[in-house]
Structures are given as C-alpha cells and as structure tokens.
C-alpha cells in the first residue's frame, strides 16, 4: 500500500533534507533564468539603443553576444541541474526508498 510507505517517508529526516536541497537548487536556477530573461525584455522595451551600440567599433552590437549568451546560459543551467540531480538527489532518493520497511 502506497499510503503506508508515504507515512514512513514522512518520518525520514533525509526526505525533508532532499526536499529542501532540491527546491533550493530549482528555485535558485529558476530565478536566474527569470531575472535574466525579464531584464533582457525590459532592456528591449526601455533602452533598445543600449543593446544596439557597437561592441568594438564594428557592426556587431552588444545585443548579439548578449542574446547568444542567454541561449547558452539556458542550456548550461539545465545541464547543471541534471548533473546535480544525477549526482546527489537520485542517490539520496534511493536511500530513502531503500529504508522503507516492506
């Protein structure tokens, strides 16, 4: 019966540690993404000229590397979360599950 197992997990301090750790990671990374994206959007709305200024005298503007960087950061942050989850969260989760008395 699942309900009994859930009650056991509830008593396990490791579970609460896992929840805390995972949500800290998830929300921190999510905040980075949200702040980054909405700053970018507000820059476009309020000061497009700033993004449009030349990077180093040539035709390439500051906006181009910033735009590409946002895409790369998005990919890298998903990589970081997956790495962290594979390395730590899954292990702790496995321990929690194996501690359940059948």
């Amino acid at each position: 019966m699942s309900a009994e197992r859930y009650e056991q997990v509830k008593q396990n301090p490791q579970f609460h540690q896992l929840v805390k750790q995972r949500s800290r990671w998830a929300w921190s990374l999510a905040s980075i993404i949200l702040i980054m994206y909405f700053s970018f959007i507000l820059l476009i709305a309020f000061s497009p000229a700033w993004l449009g200024q030349s990077l180093s005298g040539g035709v390439i503007t500051i906006g181009i590397p910033i735009g590409v960087l946002i895409i790369l950061v998005a990919i890298i942050l998903t990589g970081i979360y997956v790495y962290k989850a594979n390395k730590d969260f899954d292990r702790i989760n496995q321990e929690i599950i194996s501690e359940i008395k059948q």
Partner: protein, 550 residues
C-alpha cells in the same frame, strides 16, 4: 520556383505569432520532382515504422506513452521535434531575414520556458502522471470537473494549433511541391491519422525523432555553407548583411517587435507559461521510464532547440547576404518569392542547388506532418483518456475500449482538421498560435503548477479559475488589436494589448486562489489533506506508474 508572383502576406512587426503561421494567397508551383521523391521516401519509412509500432501495441500504456520505453535522449529529440515546427523554422529565419535582431528576441522567448520546465515541472509531472497532464491536475481533485476542464484546455490548444499547421501545410506544399492546396491538406490529414491510429505514441515519437534529426542536419548544412561563404568570419557576415539590407545597421539592434513594457512582459509570460502548458509537449514526459529520464529529456531538448535557434539566426543573416543581390529569388516588385518566410528555402537552393532544395522542402513537409501527429494524439488522448474513460465511464472502461475510443477520436480529429484547413484557407490565421499559447498559459499551466505546488488548491478553485483563464484569454485576443482591428476591421481595439497573457494568467491565478481558500466544503478539506502524500510521491517517485504498467 522562378518568376511566379505570389505573396505570403504576414503581419511582421505587428504580431510575433504571425511568424508561426503561413497565411495569405499563394500561387501553385510547377511540380518539384526531387522534393516529391524525397518526401515519398520519408512517408514510406515512417509508414514502415507505424506498421512496426502497430505490431507492438498491446496496452493503453503502449498507445499513449509508447510503453514508457523512450530514452531521455530520444525523448529530448522528440520534444525538440514537436517544438521546431516548419513554420517556426521558416518563420524565424524569415523574421531574421526581414529585421535581423528581432528574430533573435523571438527565439530566446521560445527557448526560455524550457529550463523552467526542467527545474519546476518535469520530475513531478513524470512522478504523478500517467498519460495526460490531466492525470496530474486531477490526482487529488474530483475527476469529472477537472478532467473536463483539462480536456477543454487541451482541445482548444490542439484545434487552434492544428488549424495553423494545416493551413501552413497546404500553402507550403503548394509552394514547394506544386500540389494543389486541397490535396495537400487531405494528404496531411490522412497521413497523421494513420500514424496516430495505427502506431500510437510509439510511431508518433519516431516520426518526430526522424524529422528532428533531418531538420537539424539540414539547418546545420545551410548554416555551415553560409559560414563557409564568409570564411567563417562572423564579422564579415554581419558587415555584408548590413551593407545590402535596406534597413542597414538597424538589423543589428532591437526594432519594432516589442514596443511597450506591458506588451513585452505579457509576451514573456505567454511564452514561458504557454510552453509549460502545451498538452502535446507535456504528454511526452510520460513516454520515458522515470523522473531521471524526464530530466534528461529536457536537457537534450533545450540543447537541440537552443542550437537550432542559433542556426536560424545564421541562416537568416545568410539569406540577407546570399539572396539580396540575386534576381532569381525576387519577383518584379523586388519582393522575395513566396514572401519572407521562404528565405530559408531559397537559401537552401542558393547553397546546395536543386537537390538540396528538394531535401529541405521534403523536411519542411515532414516537419508539419510530425507536429500535427503529436497534436492529434494529444487531442485524441484528452477525449479517450480524460473524457471517455474518466468522466463518462468513471474509470470502469477496459483498455481495449479506451484505445478504440481514442482511434475513433483520431479519425474525427483528422476529418475536423481537414475541414477546418480547407475552411480557413483564405483566412487570416496569424493570431491562432498566439491564442493557443495564451490559453495554454492561462488555463492549463495555472491549474497544473498549483496542483503540484499548492496544498490549498481545491476542485472548485481549479475549475472556476481554469475556465476563467481560458475564457479571458480567448475574449482578450478577440477584442485585442489583432482580431478586432486587423481582422474584423474595427477602428480601435477594446483591449489595447496584442498579448493578453499577463492579464489572463493573473486572473486565472487569482480566481483559483480565491475560490480555493473560500472553499469550506468537506471535499475541499479532504483534497487539502491528500496533498502530503501526493507531494511525497512527486518528490520520490514512490508509487509512480512505471513502464510495465497495465
């Protein structure tokens, strides 16, 4: 594709969603033999896969979720495939071709929802659900109202998306293959029904994977040839583009895509929350075996989609450089043949000749086919799994009955899609993808996320709030500038913003919150109590449906 006069008129600059649909009058082209041959190869191969999948289909799990046997990498490709629609490939590169930097802004908006889906949604979704996202929302809430709400949200999104894709398919095939519009729409409808009906999720997923690989390869090749043309010096690429583009240096900076801060934020809300509320995308998370694979799926999907968007940026600039001074690609009025959305197609000819043009044309068609199949499966599942099995039969139907209903629903959806595709041939459908995203963000997403994160959510709150979000989004789009002024021809819009999501999503959350906390019923009390066990399952995966289920 020479010397023909046809225009795909698109309201670029006025509406970002226009990019995701092809609309306007198109003139049929001469039959393109290499494209037709390559497309036939694709169809033969995918029908072969469908036959193979049909032999393996025994349970509802096989039908809806490919038996849970898709790996994270495969699913990542399939998700990317679902997301990289033909119109977004052609539309984004066309937008870059037309206005440069604005295309990049558009791409970033479409990508940015993915990391958030990973951090906040993916694992819990997999641990709680089975076949549709309604499984998750209705986990501890009452089945009948919640499944009905989710099915409405799903079918609304699917219908709007399908119309946009069907019309786009018809026009594109007229242009690329030289087949009449009606043939094209019927062909797309028949093929998608075959994939979904006989091959279920397994076939649909593999069609999606094959198409994603072909599209990524094709786009990579075009981008590579563009870079080769400028000796792999980006500075040269941009300099040449600026020197030949009528807008000059303006293409290197944000233009008219986003005008005021409210619109900007509202668009961001629609893109982020809409992505996390698209039923055909959410459904993909149930095709993998566990939360770990769900996580990997998003990582690969984000990587592929991000890479693809960078490619389209290069392709758009390449089109500016390589097409602008070549009269072969322009009509008598100096407009790009077929409209700006044809930039990537023309470029494929410029860098790879007729054979490669055929290849890219076939890939574009395959892309539409794959996307409509995914949509149809999501719609059919909402009908059979949510409405039939859970609402009408109250969980007392057999697997066989459920699959049968799903197949019937698939055929009906196919017929409806063909009918609407023909009906909307000459209509302005640019708003439809935007409306689909707005509804996904305002009805599906708030109920889904709160069901996973908020103990206080009750059936009453979710039902009233979800429907309020859905209706608000629909009404605000209709009385907004795109439909009220551009389509209905009124002087002034009743609602001033093109993107209603900021308002409709806020109203949805507010209503869900208010009608939940004021819900003093016995049922509500019970639902709040069940949150704890649901939460433990969502975190640990204990009790989650596994691949061998059913």
């Amino acid at each position: 594709m020479k010397a023909a006069l046809f225009t795909i008129s698109i309201l670029f600059g006025s509406n970002v969603w226009a990019v995701d649909s092809l609309s306007g009058a198109v003139e049929q082209q001469a039959l393109n033999i290499p494209a037709v041959v390559m497309f036939l190869i694709f169809v033969t191969a995918t029908l072969g896969i469908t036959y193979w999948a049909s032999k393996r289909m025994r349970s509802t799990s096989d039908y809806y979720a490919a038996g849970g046997g898709i790996t994270g990498f495969q699913n990542g490709l399939a998700i990317a495939g679902d997301y990289m629609s033909a119109a977004s490939f052609l539309g984004i590169s066309g937008l870059v071709y037309l206005s440069g930097y604005d295309g990049l802004i558009y791409s970033i908006g479409f990508l940015i929802g993915w990391p958030l889906i990973l951090f906040l949604v993916a694992e819990r979704l997999r641990n709680l659900g089975r076949y549709t996202f309604a499984d998750v929302v209705s986990y501890r809430l009452e089945q009948l109202p919640i499944r009905t709400l989710s099915a409405f949200g799903t079918l609304a999104v699917v219908a709007l998306y399908l119309i946009a894709q069907m019309v786009g398919a018809g026009k594109l095939i007229q242009l690329l293959f030289g087949l009449p519009y009606h043939y094209a729409v019927v062909m797309v409808g028949v093929l998608m029904v075959m994939y979904v009906m006989f091959g279920g999720m397994l076939a649909t997923t593999w069609v999606q994977i094959i198409k994603a690989v072909l599209l990524l390869l094709g786009a990579s090749f075009i981008a590579f040839m563009v870079l080769k043309h400028v000796d792999f010096d980006l500075n040269t690429l941009f300099e040449q583009a600026v020197s030949v583009h009528p807008k000059g240096l303006d293409i290197m900076a944000p233009g008219g895509l986003i005008s005021d801060p409210v619109s900007a934020i509202s668009l961001g809300v629609a893109l982020i929350f809409g992505t996390a509320g698209l039923p055909h995308i959410l459904m993909r998370f149930f095709t993998v075996s566990n939360a770990k694979q769900a996580r990997r799926s998003v990582f690969f999907a984000t990587g592929f989609i991000g890479y693809f968007y960078i490619l389209t940026f290069v392709i758009g600039f390449g089109a500016i450089v390589l097409l602008s001074n070549n009269p072969e690609f322009f009509d008598g009025n100096g407009l790009l043949l077929g409209g700006n959305n044809m930039a990537a197609i023309h470029l494929s000819k410029a860098v790879g000749g007729d054979f490669f043009l055929g290849f890219i044309s076939a890939v574009a068609f395959a892309t539409i086919l794959a996307v409509v199949s995914g949509l149809t499966l999501a719609g059919a599942s909402a009908i059979s799994h949510d409405l039939y099995a859970s609402v009408i039969k109250k969980g007392n139907s057999s697997a066989k009955q459920e699959i049968r209903v799903s197949k019937i629903a698939t055929v009906i959806l196919g017929l409806v899609a063909i009918f609407l595709g023909i009906l909307f041939e000459d209509q302005n459908i640019a708003f439809m993808v935007g409306l689909a995203f707005a509804i996904a963000a305002s009805a599906n997403f708030p109920t889904l996320i709160l069901s996973m994160y908020w103990q206080g959510l009750t059936t009453r709150g979710a039902f009233i709030g979800g429907f309020t979000g859905l209706l608000t989004a629909a009404v605000l789009v209709i009385v907004g500038p795109i439909v009220w002024v551009d389509i209905l021809g009124n002087e002034e819009a009743l609602f001033p913003y093109k993107y209603p999501a900021l308002f409709s999503v806020s109203i949805a959350f507010l209503c869900i919150w208010f009608f939940s906390i004021t819900d003093r019923s016995k049922r509500a009390e019970n639902e709040r109590k069940q949150f704890e066990h649901q939460f433990i399952r969502s975190q640990t995966g204990i009790g989650a449906h596994d691949a061998a289920d059913h």
